[in-house]
């Protein structure tokens, strides 16, 4: 399957090329989070009970609501991609806006959770304090919690930024989304960030439930 250079100008070739670039980028992202998941796996197998105990200090209700919010945002993102492919400008703008709004709701809920942890002195470092027996390993759990959900949140913020730029360009008619793969590529990224959360949610919030 050799793509000929004569095709290098046409649209489907450009679309495939951009999307292949996005997929390769997502591959690096998988390995990036993979390193952290490996670390988590090592320590959780080392201290399974303490991790479960620490997990009970997270708010399962807020975590579940956030999971629902994020999954819904993936749905609106999928609708945005479909609208872009069909060249429907107004629905595209609405769906982009909804995706951004849901992303912001997720970040809002996440930051209230962070605030609770701050009040409860569960943020690792000099001010960490925990009354149970296994202070050290609980701090380890929260180290992973903050690094992994924090990096996830940074990925959300980057995604929201890209979506906002796309929405602006479509609104000002500077971009014809049916002629390129920008919306589709951003959609792939958004779904990837969503999938990361699908792993984070049970590994941090739900492991305490079974005890």
């Amino acid at each position: 399957m050799t793509e000929t250079s004569a095709h290098q100008e046409d649209m489907s070739w450009q679309r495939e090329t951009s999307l292949l670039g996005v997929w390769v980028f997502l591959l690096t992202e998988v390995l990036f989070f993979g390193g952290l998941f490996t670390g988590y796996a090592v320590y959780r197998s080392g201290y399974p009970d303490i991790f479960s105990e620490a997990s009970r200090h997270l708010n399962v209700l807020l975590g579940t609501v956030n999971t629902a919010v994020l999954l819904t945002s993936s749905l609106t993102m999928a609708f945005a991609v479909a609208s872009a492919q069909e060249g429907k400008r107004r629905p595209l703008l609405i769906y982009l806006f909804l995706t951004i709004a849901l992303g912001l709701v997720f970040l809002g809920i996440k930051s209230t959770e962070y605030h609770h942890k701050f009040v409860e002195k569960l943020i690792p470092g000099a001010h960490f304090s925990y009354s149970g027996l296994s202070t050290r390993e609980v701090q380890l759990f929260f180290s992973f919690y903050f690094v992994m959900t924090g990096l996830h949140a940074l990925h959300m913020i980057a995604g929201i930024g890209v979506l906002a730029v796309l929405a602006f360009l479509v609104w000002r008619k500077k971009l014809d989304p049916s002629r390129n793969a920008l919306v589709e590529g951003t959609g792939l990224y958004w779904h990837f960030v969503d999938v990361v959360w699908i792993f984070l949610f049970p590994l941090f919030y739900l492991i305490g439930l079974r005890a």
Binding site: T2, E3, T4, S5, A6, Q8, W13, E16, T17, L20, G21, V24, F25, L27, T28, E29, L31, F32, F33, G34, G35, L36, T38, G39, V42, Y43, G46, Y47, P124, G125, A126, T135, R136, E137, Q139, L140, S143, F144, F146, V147
Partner: protein, 537 residues
């Protein structure tokens, strides 16, 4: 296109202002930008080596303090690995040649390519900042808990620099993968690709899969220092060895990021100067991919004495022997290519010969180190230093210099002086061996690495090594002079001074025009079809 005159319109004459260079998206110009920046870092890293080789001339620590010595070898390691060797062949020559070799106008994402250079420079500036404000003393390996808890040098700043520079190699790798998949000229099937392209494809896979793991390891060291989050901190139940696992998961494959592109260079040069198709082309091509895959499964051979379980050690030892197979396939196939070839001893070929011989020594001593029992004896001694310098300097830099001399006429349109270039190739070979061969003996006798003072019985080998280093240093300076001279006085090279096969030689001028080819070429033959017949490989 046959007469040896320089074309008036080429990528170099397309604009002379600084702005035209700093805003270019032409892959050839970006390759040149990389070439200049990494040469700068090579000189910085080399200067550190000069200083600590002088210190090691005498047994007591008399020239620099122990602290400064630690900072010097750290500076040398970090700059040479992350800011010179990793970008060297791919970012300079890969950038220049990948589109030319596959008959494309540019890389798939030209703007991303320019961004990668800026990101590289930014990362390099952070590293320089860390070095100028006081340096880092952790060694290039950043082992925890020293780097995360105890070192009071500028580790965080350096970590940020390495983290940023990592993105530039990810951008380059991503660009190469997509370009090689989607932009090959009509008729250029996978098994007609030059082996340089196969090598860069394999390298790009390693870059894309490995670099993010280094990024996350470095990031965790950074947040541990800055925010007190303690994933590697034994005081809260963390395991410092986890860092070593993450670090070597990247940094062993990183050896292949450094050596695979040079292997690609050697394939091109050996074919050209023995006027033969590479023997067992498909095996050499697949061997690159095999190295990329197996390279990810052997990192534990750096941790035999780190309390890793014996069973893990056995498996890592076995797999490390296994990864030598595809490397050996390449060496044997290059040698077989020489057999009955019409061999010409031009400068690039001298470097290719240097590569084959020195890489073989480096590879074989790697097997010594992969042997569990022997490694306990020579671990953390100068034997290890000698081994990986045979790979990285004897291998990777020989390949880099081979590439520089082979494609210099294509990049600049000018020829350099034959006599001086052969002389400096010889000087480099002699200087290199004199520098590093005594270190094998030193290591076997038990001299540990990373100390600024040593016991007097080791002095004779250290004097030899320092003497060799000064010869090697001279060997590196001579090419800078005659290559610069050739820019002004060298005679025009013409499109194909070596009579080489390949689209970059046969289908475009030297230097190439902005869009590479007057018209996109169509490929109808195998790579390295020097015999003129269209045999199948």
């Amino acid at each position: 296109m046959t007469a040896a005159v320089e074309p008036k319109d080429n990528y170099l004459t397309a604009g002379f202002s600084l702005k035209s260079w700093l805003t270019t998206t032409d892959h050839k110009r970006i390759g040149v930008l990389y070439l200049l920046s990494i040469t700068f870092f090579f000189l910085v890293g080399g200067l550190a080596a000069v200083l600590f080789r002088l210190e090691l001339l005498t047994p007591p620590g008399d020239l620099v303090s122990a602290d400064s010595y630690n900072k010097l070898f750290t500076l040398h390691g970090i700059v040479m690995v992350f800011l010179f060797l990793i970008p060297s062949v791919p970012a300079a020559f890969g950038n220049f040649l990948v589109p030319l070799m596959i008959g494309a106008k540019d890389l798939a994402f030209p703007k991303l390519n320019l961004a990668s250079w800026y990101v590289f420079v930014l990362g390099g500036l952070f590293a320089l900042w860390a070095l100028l404000t006081g340096g880092v003393d952790t060694g290039w390996t950043f082992y925890t808990p020293y780097s995360s808890t105890y070192s009071n040098t500028y580790v965080s700043l350096m970590a940020i620099g390495i983290f940023i520079a990592g993105f530039s190699s990810i951008f380059t790798g991503l660009n190469f993968i997509v370009t090689i998949h989607k932009m090959r000229a009509p008729g250029l099937t996978w098994f007609r690709l030059p082996l340089f392209i196969w090598a860069h494809y394999a390298t790009s896979l390693i870059i894309v899969l490995g670099t993010p793991v280094l990024a996350v390891a470095i990031l965790l060291v950074g947040v541990e220092r800055l925010f007190g989050i303690g994933i590697f901190n034994p005081a809260i139940g963390g395991d410092p060895l986890l860092f070593q696992h993450l670090f070597w998961f990247y940094s062993h494959p990183a050896v292949y990021i450094m050596i695979l592109p040079s292997m690609g260079v050697v394939s091109e040069i050996v074919a050209c100067f023995s006027r033969k198709r590479i023997f067992g082309y498909k095996f050499v091509a697949i061997a690159s991919l095999a190295i990329a895959v197996y390279g990810f499964l052997v990192w534990g051979h750096h941790m035999f004495v780190s309390s890793q379980s014996v069973y893990a050690g056995l498996i890592f030892s076995f797999l490390s022997f296994f990864v030598a197979v595809p490397s050996a396939v390449k060496v044997f196939n290059w040698t077989a290519t020489l057999y009955k070839g019409s061999i010409a001893f031009d400068t690039p070929m001298l470097y290719a010969f240097g590569f084959i011989g020195l890489f073989t020594i480096g590879g074989l001593t790697g097997l010594f180190l992969a042997t569990l029992g022997l490694d306990v004896h020579v671990h953390d001694t100068y034997f290890v230093i000698a081994h990986f310098h045979y790979i990285m300097v004897g291998g990777a830099i020989m390949g880099y210099l081979g590439a520089l001399h082979f494609w210099w006429p294509k990049m600049t349109g000018r020829m350099y002086t034959e006599g001086w270039s052969k002389f400096s190739a010889l000087i480099i070979f002699i200087g290199f061996n004199l520098t590093f061969f005594p270190q094998f003996i030193l290591g076997y006798l038990g001299m540990p690495r990373r100390y600024h003072a040593y016991s007097p019985e080791f002095q004779v080998y250290n004097v030899l090594s320092t003497a060799g280093a000064s010869i090697l240093g001279a060997g590196y300076v001579i090419p800078i002079i005659y290559l610069l001279w050739s820019l002004f006085r060298g005679k025009p090279a013409g499109p194909n001074p070596w009579g080489a096969k390949g689209l970059e030689w046969e289908k475009t001028s030297s230097p190439p025009p902005v869009h590479n080819f007057a018209e996109i070429p169509t490929v109808t033959e195998e790579a390295y079809n020097y015999s003129g017949t269209n045999e199948q490989g």
